[in-house]
C-alpha cells in the first residue's frame, strides 16, 4: 500500500508550484490556472485524509467535491472580470492593472 506521506508531500509540492505560478506570472489567466493547481493540491489532501483517516464518515470526500465545484465556479467568475478588464484596457496583464495604489 502507498504510505499516506506520499500523497501529502505530493499535494504540498503541487500547492507550492501553484503558489510559484501566482507569484511569478503576469497574465491574469495564468494566475488563475496557478490557483487551480493550488486547489488541486488541496483536493488531494482532503481525499487523502478522508481515505486514510476518516474512513467511516469520509467528510473529506464531500469537501473535496465541493472544493472542485467552487474552484470551477471561481474560474468562471474571475474570467468574467478578466474579460471586462480586457475590454476596458486591452490587457490581461496584472502588472498593468495597478492604477490603484498607495
Amino acid at each position: 500500500m502507498i504510505p499516506i506521506e506520499n500523497f501529502l508531500v505530493l499535494s504540498g509540492l503541487l500547492f507550492a508550484i501553484g503558489l510559484f505560478g501566482v507569484l511569478s506570472r503576469r497574465s491574469a489567466i495564468l494566475i488563475l490556472m496557478s490557483v487551480e493547481l493550488m486547489l488541486a493540491g488541496v483536493a488531494i489532501n482532503f481525499i487523502t485524509f478522508a481515505s486514510y483517516r476518516d474512513t467511516e464518515a469520509f467528510s473529506g470526500l464531500v469537501f473535496a467535491l465541493f472544493v472542485i465545484t467552487v474552484a470551477a465556479a471561481e474560474v468562471g467568475l474571475a474570467l468574467g472580470i478578466v474579460l471586462r478588464l480586457f475590454r476596458e484596457r486591452r490587457t490581461a496583464n496584472v502588472d498593468e492593472a495597478s492604477s490603484l495604489k498607495w
Binding site: 488563475l32 488541496v42 490603484l100
Partner: protein, 490 residues
C-alpha cells in the same frame, strides 16, 4: 433522520427561515428587475422588496432568540447566531435605505446588486452559525463571491474592474491557503464537525503537531485575508477605493463582522484546545495591523482609502480580543463590532450622500461642508470622532470595554500599543473634520439638503451613535448573552 454514522439529524428547516427568506427575496428582486418592462415597475420597487425581505428575515431571526438548536449538525441557531443575523440584517437595511439613490445612479445591474446583497447577508449568517467546516467554508465563499461581483459593479468607473480583479485573484489565493489549512485540521482531527475537532485537538497531538501548526498558520493567513489583517491586507485599500461606495461600506461592515463571527466560533470552539499554537500568531498580526493601518492612514488623500486603512487599524484592535479569548473578551469584541458597525455605517452613508451630490471623494473635496450642509458635516464628525474613540460616542465605550477585556486576559502590552495607535488615528480623522469646518467651500457654496431617506438613515445612525454612547447597556447585554452561547457551561 439519522446520518451515515447513525447520529440523529434535526432537519427542522424553520430554523433556517431567515436565510430562506433572504434567498427567496433575492430571487424576487432579480425577477422583478428582469421583467421590469413587462411588469411596468420602476427601479424604486427593487430597494423596497429588498428592505421588506430583510425586515422579514430580521423578524424571523428573533423567533429563535432564546433557543439553542442545530440544523443537521451543520448550522447552529443560538444567541450568537441571532446576534449576527440581526446585525447583518440591520446593516443591509440601513445600507439599502441610505444608498438606494447611489445604487440607481452609479451601480451597474441594480437588481443583481440587491440580490447579491441579500444572498451575501445569508452567507454571512451561515458563517456565524456554521457548526461544520464545510458549511463554514461554503458560507465564506458565498459572501466572498458576492463581494467580488459587487466590487466590479461600479458604473463608468475603470477602477471598479481593476479592484475586482485584484480582489478575486488574491481572494482565490487566500481561499487556497484557508482550504489547505482546513485540510490539515481535518486530517489531524478526522472530522469536519466543530465538536469533534474540539474533542480531537483536546487529546494528545504530539505525533501530528507539525501538521496541526501548518494548518493553523494557513487558517490564520486565509482568514487574515478576509479580515484584512497585515500582511494579508493589501487588497483592502485598492478594493475599497475601486468599489462603489455602498459596497465599500458593506465590505467594512458585514464582511468584516462575518469574518470575526467565524473567527470567534473557531477560536473559541474547535481550535481552542490548540490555543498555545495560534495565540502568538494572532498577537503578532494584531500588533502589525494596528501599527501599519494607523500609520499609513495618515498619508491618504482619498476618503475611501482613508476609511480602508482606518478599518484595517480597527481589525487590529478586534484581533486583540481573539488573543486572550474568553467569554469576557468575546463579549467585548461583539459589543465593539456592534458599535463599530453602526459608527462606520454612519460615516459611509454620509460619504455616499456627499458623493450623490458632488461626485467627489477626495478628502479635500470635503472643504466647507459645514457651510454647505452642516447636518451632514455633523454626522460625519460624530462618526469620525466615534471611530477615533472619543468619549460619549458609542465608539469610545465599546473600544474601551474591548481594551479592558484584553487587559483582563493579561495582554497589557497589546493594549498599550493599541491605546497609542488609537491616538494616532485621531489625527487622520481630524484631517477630514478640519476640511469640513475650517475651509471655505471651493466654488459652489449653496446649501443643499439630503433626500428624505438620507435624513432617515443618517438620523437613525447618528442617534444610535450618540444614544449608545451615553447608554450602551442594551448593546453590552446582548453581546454578553451572545458571547455566553460560545462558551456553554459544561
Amino acid at each position: 433522520m439519522t446520518d451515515i454514522l447513525g447520529n440523529d439529524l434535526n432537519m427542522q428547516y424553520s430554523l433556517l427561515l431567515p436565510e430562506i427568506l433572504l434567498g427567496v427575496t433575492a430571487f424576487l428582486v432579480v425577477f422583478a428587475d428582469l421583467f421590469s418592462k413587462e411588469l411596468k415597475i420602476g427601479y424604486r420597487l427593487l430597494p423596497l422588496i429588498t428592505v421588506a425581505g430583510l425586515v422579514a428575515a430580521l423578524a424571523a431571526s428573533l423567533i429563535w432568540a432564546d433557543t439553542t438548536s442545530d440544523f443537521a449538525m451543520l448550522v447552529t441557531v443560538d444567541s450568537f447566531t441571532t446576534f449576527f443575523r440581526v446585525l447583518f440584517c440591520i446593516v443591509a437595511i440601513v445600507l439599502v435605505i441610505g444608498a438606494h439613490e447611489y445604487i440607481e445612479a452609479h451601480v451597474n445591474h441594480p437588481g443583481e446588486f440587491f440580490a447579491l446583497l441579500l444572498l451575501s447577508t445569508a452567507g454571512a449568517s451561515f458563517m456565524a452559525g456554521a457548526q461544520d467546516l464545510l458549511t463554514a467554508y461554503l458560507a465564506v465563499e458565498v459572501l466572498s463571491f458576492s463581494l467580488y461581483i459587487a466590487v466590479s459593479l461600479g458604473r463608468n468607473d475603470p477602477r471598479s474592474g481593476e479592484a475586482a480583479l485584484k480582489y478575486v485573484l488574491l481572494g482565490g489565493v487566500a481561499s487556497a491557503f484557508l482550504l489547505y489549512g482546513l485540510s490539515f485540521i481535518y486530517g489531524v482531527a478526522g472530522s469536519t464537525q466543530y465538536a469533534d475537532i474540539s474533542a480531537a485537538l483536546g487529546g494528545d497531538l504530539s505525533d501530528v503537531r507539525g501538521s496541526l501548526v501548518l494548518g493553523l498558520v494557513l487558517i490564520v493567513a486565509g482568514l487574515g485575508f478576509k479580515a484584512s489583517a497585515v500582511p494579508f491586507h493589501m487588497w483592502t485599500p485598492d478594493a475599497y477605493e475601486g468599489a462603489p461606495i455602498p459596497v465599500t461600506a458593506y465590505l467594512s461592515a458585514t464582511s468584516k463582522a462575518a469574518t470575526f463571527a467565524l473567527l470567534l466560533r473557531w477560536f473559541s470552539g474547535p481550535l481552542l484546545p490548540a490555543i498555545d499554537e495560534w495565540q502568538w500568531m494572532i498577537a503578532v498580526l494584531a500588533t502589525a495591523t494596528m501599527v501599519l493601518g494607523n500609520l499609513v492612514a495618515l498619508q491618504q488623500r482619498n476618503i475611501k482609502r482613508l476609511l480602508a486603512y482606518s478599518s484595517i487599524a480597527q481589525v487590529g484592535f478586534m484581533l486583540m480580543a481573539l488573543v486572550g479569548i474568553s467569554q469576557i473578551t468575546a463579549g467585548g469584541l461583539l459589543a465593539h463590532l456592534g458599535g463599530y458597525l453602526i459608527t462606520n455605517l454612519a460615516v459611509f452613508v454620509a460619504v455616499i450622500h456627499f458623493y450623490n451630490r458632488t461626485g467627489k471623494e477626495e478628502i479635500t473635496d470635503f472643504k466647507g461642508l459645514a457651510q454647505t450642509n452642516p447636518y451632514l458635516a455633523l454626522v460625519m464628525t460624530a462618526g469620525l470622532f466615534s471611530l477615533a474613540g472619543m468619549p460619549l460616542l458609542v465608539g469610545f465605550f465599546t473600544k474601551f470595554i474591548l481594551f479592558q477585556t484584553v487587559v483582563e486576559a493579561d495582554f497589557l502590552w497589546l493594549v498599550v500599543v493599541a491605546v497609542v495607535a488609537s491616538t494616532v488615528s485621531l489625527y487622520y480623522y481630524l484631517q477630514v473634520i478640519k476640511q469640513m469646518y475650517l475651509y471655505q467651500p471651493d466654488g459652489d457654496a449653496t446649501r443643499w439638503r439630503l433626500t428624505p431617506t438620507g435624513y432617515l438613515s443618517t438620523g437613525a445612525l447618528l442617534a444610535a451613535v450618540v444614544v449608545l454612547g451615553l447608554w450602551g447597556t442594551p448593546l453590552y447585554e446582548v453581546a454578553d448573552k451572545a458571547a455566553a452561547a460560545l462558551f456553554p457551561v459544561a
